[in-house]
């Protein structure tokens, strides 16, 4: 599920980023503590960067 990041796994705060989550009693939690290897880290960063770029674009459009 993509949720506003609170900095989990070093993902910039505020962007809406898909994380592994568990849900219980109407609330969700990001699964923390997963080991991230180099291959995965690179790909996680590429998609984070795309979201940062989209955020800059919507800021420039005055939408947020």
């Amino acid at each position: 599920m993509a949720v506003p990041s609170q900095g989990e796994y070093g993902i910039p705060e505020g962007i809406v980023y898909s994380f592994p989550v568990t849900a219980k009693d109407g609330a969700y939690r990001v699964v923390e503590g997963l080991e991230i290897n180099e291959f995965a880290r690179k790909r996680m960063e590429i998609t984070a960067q795309e979201l940062l770029d989209e955020m800059e674009q919507v800021k420039a459009l005055g939408l947020i």
């Binding site: 599920m1 993509a2 949720v3 506003p4 609170q6 505020g14 962007i15 809406v16 980023y17 898909s18 994380f19 592994p20 699964v31 997963l34 080991e35 290897n37 291959f39 995965a40 790909r43 996680m44 590429i46 998609t47 984070a48 795309e50 979201l51 989209e54 955020m55 674009q57 919507v58 459009l61 939408l63 947020i64």
Partner: protein
Amino acid sequence: MKAPVRVAVTGAAGQIGYSLLFRIAAGEMLGKDQPVILQLLEIPQAMKALEGVVMELEDCAFPLLAGLEATDDPKVAFKDADYALLVGAAPRKAGMERRDLLQVNGKIFTEQGRALAEVAKKDVKVLVVGNPANTNALIAYKNAPGLNPRNFTAMTRLDHNRAKAQLAKKTGTGVDRIRRMTVWGNHSSTMFPDLFHAEVDGRPALSSWTWSGTRRSSSPPWPSGGRPSSRPGGPAAPPAPRTPP
């Protein structure tokens, strides 16, 4: 019977709505003991079509469907909503740049964020489906003062399910035997489906046992016919992410 909850759905007369609404009304979203009131939003041009959808929902005589509202006004659609599924978004038209798409959708999700903050229940749970989903969710929550940003999510369950299905196919197993699939990031071509934590029948998805030992088909899992590395824990490169529609 529990008290009914209000589920708002935008883009309700569209293709996704046509699959989604009947399942919500049948109890498949919130459970067979939870009555729902559907509050459906469309653009003015689609209100006639939405009337047709309403008639079909009525024809189904769903016992759990405690109410039905169709409107083109977000403040009516989101009134006292417990859940809001923001499915409707502006599609990219020929000649449109990404900037134009963001601008048109920005308008939609700015208005919807504001309307939700004004009239929905304070702990409304919002799922954004309309693309670009992640950024539309960002726009919505940034324009919804007073609502908790963590109640705004974007749908990547499709990406997750798709990854599970692909892994099941490759290993000749079923999705019910797969656990710990993870998808990271944007619902776009940069989405990263992560097999490093995934398990098939309790074993790491990327172990050579999984790839060679459990497939039912007689043809090799790799297009070239080659075998994955049998180094323990050594990753074969995960399948490239499919471009989402």
